[in-house]
Symmetry: C2
Subunit: 185 residues, 2 copies
């Protein structure tokens, strides 16, 4: 896999990479430990500051790392990483170091201690914005504080979970911008 060259990406435009609903890899760090988990229950919540909500189950090994550090990175994989995504989702950080086990490369983030996954075309550094919904709903409300995107990746072939072990791969892109009202673009 060719190394991806990433640029700073405007936080106001984060929705371009998350609103489509891809499976993401969430990285975390706490004390001497790092981990990776797969996650598909998430949504954009606000443009600016860029808020992003996601559900994290208490049973995930990452839960305590994320809860304690109040930080994470949302990494967006594409179809080339499908085997790794499945492996990450079907193993636990309590037993394996997923970075070395699945040949994923940790890179230093700018604003948080959780690592970026180098092989993912987009990485969003997140700081916990609101902890009040974690108890009742497992809902973490994040502020995206820094975004890195490989702009060479046009129309990324992201993975979208259908349940039952099946993933939809992002297909064609349709451009309707000429039919949009200006204020909706």
């Amino acid at each position: 896999m060719t190394a991806l060259r990433k640029s700073d990406f405007p936080l106001i435009d984060v929705r371009q990479h998350l609103e489509t609903g891809p499976i993401v890899l969430v990285t975390s760090a706490w004390k001497d430990e790092t981990n990776i988990m797969t996650m598909g229950w998430h949504m954009m919540m606000q443009f600016s500051p860029a808020l992003f909500g996601c559900y994290i189950w208490t049973g995930n090994h990452s839960y305590e790392l994320i809860r304690n550090s109040q930080q994470c990175v949302i990494n967006v994989p594409t179809v080339e990483l499908a085997d790794q995504v499945v492996a990450v989702g079907n193993s636990t950080g309590a037993a394996v170091d997923k970075f070395s086990a699945f040949a994923l490369t940790a890179a230093r983030a700018d604003r948080v201690k959780a690592p970026l996954i180098k092989e993912c075309y987009a990485n969003f550094e997140c700081q916990l914005f609101d902890a009040n919904l974690i108890g009742e709903y497992g809902l973490f409300v994040w502020e995206v504080v820094k975004a890195h995107v490989a702009l060479s990746v046009k129309n990324p072939k992201t993975l979208h979970y259908r349940g039952r072990g099946q993933f939809m791969v992002a297909g064609d892109t349709l451009d309707f911008h000429e039919k949009f009202r200006a204020q909706n673009l």
Copy 2:
């Protein structure tokens, strides 16, 4: 378009149609009025009862209908309906009856007053489960109380919004179920 024959669908499996992150059409009814809006900021929140969260902006004409009735239907369109999805998202129910303007057919729901959109392959009837997050985040937490899905539609070619007037269309499906641990399926 051939009429879709829909079946009752198990509420526990709703994620199969919503977790991929499709653009949905939200229908609502209040007093003598019905409306349709497009919506892309949503997520699954719980399996059972099936909870689904979504962001609805106060500026949407549908907001008051949904807020007052505490009900809606989440209708999932496929690519054949792309023109209508764009038209619905770029018009307001304050000025047009979107059902007649865009040739969408309202059908009676079982558990709520909001109509189903017949042309959409899946329809999820929702009752407001928690109103407490509407004020701060515009976040409606819904319980899906009835689901209708056209089972003839395999791997639905849903639309996923990339921003800037562009939609990703659902592509191929990859089956990894043999690599999943049983408890993850």
